[in-house]
Amino acid sequence: MGQVVLKGINKFYESVHAVKDVNLQIRDKEFVVFVGPSGCGKTTTLRMIAGLEAISSGDISIDGNVINTLAPMDRDIAMVFQNYALYPHMSVYDNMAFGLKMRKFERPEIEKRVREAADILGIGELLKRKPRQLSGGQRQRVALGRAIVRHPRVFLFDEPLSNLDAKLRVQMRVELKKLHLRLGTTAIYVTHDQVEAMTLGDRVVVMKDGVVQQVGEPLELYNQPANKFVAGFIGSPAMNFAAVTVTEAGGSLIAENSGLRIKLPDEIAQRLRGHIGREVILGVRPEDLTVAGSADLDHPCFDAVIEVVEQLGSEILLDMKVGESIMVASVEPTARVRVADKLRVAMRPSRLHVFDAQTEAAI
């Protein structure tokens, strides 16, 4: 079992309010990812769960028992650190066995567990080496092994992949996912990389300035972001935003600014009835923009000038000037486009997002 409940968690550092009233229920066997920009409180939250940081107020419980004041060693958790935190003077075997030795496990049991973990991670050959003699990826595996051998109730990961190069990071990401499926241990994972969050998490917690912005499954965050921050943070390239004024003309609603004038689809128009004459923020993802063809006649369209063409092979990213602002569109690799081309761009109406200009909450 490994059910973690955070109830009204706060963290103050002298005058800084680093974590603000976090409430979260993490189910047994679930993989939950905390994601957000640096300084958003995600690591602090993780460290409070680990017991490395005191909780200013609120309760953290594992399987129903409040663990606020328990020492880290008594919480039955294992943690993987960003810099691996391998003991440099111990061999790989001793690194993995250390936790078991401290807990007075019998020698044969220690050996069995270390071998088992080493086999799972494919580091059986490295057991006699010192951390210094390992590559970044191998060190990461040893750090994972040290967590696995303990058979804890909860795994805590603090940006474990951020020190690896891009290719290895993708590879280790897949392995982590497999490992979680195989072990089924509850995992809490902190990262600033939204791709990691989307690919690994059963659920993702987006944080900013110590406040949880939204909790949900990856696609839920992607398709129904709760506010402008989540919308902009999740997805790459990021969502395009345009400040527009809502006006009424001939029974339908129009959103316009200096370079944009589009008729809002009915579904969105209904939600914006109360905002006529006011400013709102329109959001649209790059992949929901297309070069307008004959099929898109009834879609909202606008004119744009191409400033940069980024060929990615599988798609083309167009940086376009729309009035005063820049928008990015991701279009088919077959599109024939050149810098300085004038284009008519269509939006997929069902994929438009609207946010309040003041609160930035989704409307």
Binding site: A50, G51, L52, A71, P72, M73, I77, A78, M79, F81, Q82, N83, A85, Y87, P88, H89, F98, G99, M102, R103, K130, R146, R150
Partner: protein, 311 residues
């Protein structure tokens, strides 16, 4: 284009003067750069050392060049009771102070490695005994140990711990304890600050990982901090042992080797014989007798440090 331009300028320039061309040669350049160091080391270390060896095999005295006498001086000092006492004293002095300096220094370093208000100030303050000229601070200590004006006696008396005066520097054993205390007081800051620097190179994550792994505080110290601090500790101990073994100032100021030559160390006894009595050659022999011991200490510790670092 660029290349042709460069060669054109080179062609136009006159060939560099001879001196400059010599310095282009790395062997000459290396030699030139090494000269200041060689001169300094030669003048202030190698020459006095060789001169000392030459002195020790003569019977020269102040104002008398003397003749070659072989190892007679060494033979003489090995049969000298005071010399034997000094050898014993030097080992006790070095051994006891090093153990205390290491223990107290490590303890202080661990305390200072924590976060607290006024950390920077305290760290600077701790260094004071190390910064004050030794002779000055030792004079202060001498007053504190003075039989008549001793502030220590006054304190002990007023707390009711003693009834009469303790003659700190007048009793052979107490005098030895006194100079050991002063040496520890003076040496602890060096240990504390050096070990603190060593502690700060140990990532706090290692201790956190160990805490999660189930290690209690003293286990974390024993399994993580101590082994990782060992190379620094060895270097610090090495420096301290060399300095303490050849210590002069504290004993010279506090007791002058007394009472009745009971607290002489190698250096103070060598000074007394050579300068005080004028027996230059015998003094040189005493000073040189330190050399094999120090040499051995250095060799052992350097080998050990290398082994630890390779690990």
């Amino acid at each position: 284009m660029a290349i042709s331009a460069v060669s054109a300028t080179t062609l136009r320039e006159a060939p560099p003067p001879r001196r400059q061309r010599l310095l282009e040669d790395e062997r000459w350049l290396a030699f030139v750069l090494l000269v200041p160091t060689i001169v300094l080391l030669g003048m202030f270390i190698a020459y006095p050392f060789i001169r000392g060896i030459l002195l020790s095999v003569t019977n020269s005295r102040v104002g008398m060049p003397g003749d070659f006498v072989g190892l007679a001086n060494f033979y003489k000092i090995f049969n000298d009771g005071i010399f034997r006492t000094s050898v014993y004293n030097t080992f006790v002095y070095t051994g006891v102070t090093t153990v205390f300096k290491l223990a107290l220094g490590l303890w202080l370093a661990m305390l200072l490695n924590r976060n607290f208000h006024g950390k920077a100030f305290t760290r600077a303050f701790i260094l004071l005994p190390f910064i004050i000229p030794t002779v000055l601070s030792t004079f202060a200590w001498k007053w504190m140990f003075d039989p008549t004006f001793s502030v220590l006696n006054w304190l002990l008396y007023h707390f009711g711990l003693i009834t009469g005066r303790i003659n700190w520097l007048g009793d052979p054993d107490l005098a030895m304890i006194s100079i050991i205390i002063v040496n520890i007081w003076r040496g602890v800051p060096f240990f504390a600050i050096s070990l603190l620097a060593g502690l700060q190179t140990i990532s706090p994550e290692l201790n956190e990982a160990a805490a999660i792994d189930g290690a209690k505080p003293w286990q974390r110290f024993w399994h993580i901090t101590w082994p990782l601090l060992l190379p620094v500790t060895m270097v610090v101990v090495l420096f301290s042992v060399i300095q303490t073994f050849a210590d002069f100032q504290i004993v010279y100021v506090m007791t002058g080797g007394g009472p009745a030559n009971a607290t002489h160390l190698f250096a103070t006894y060598a000074y007394q014989i050579a300068i005080g009595t004028g027996l230059l050659s015998e003094g040189a022999a005493i000073a040189l007798a330190m050399f094999p011991v120090l040499f051995l200490v250095v060799i052992i510790q350097l080998l050990y440090i290398r082994r630890v670092e390779v690990r």
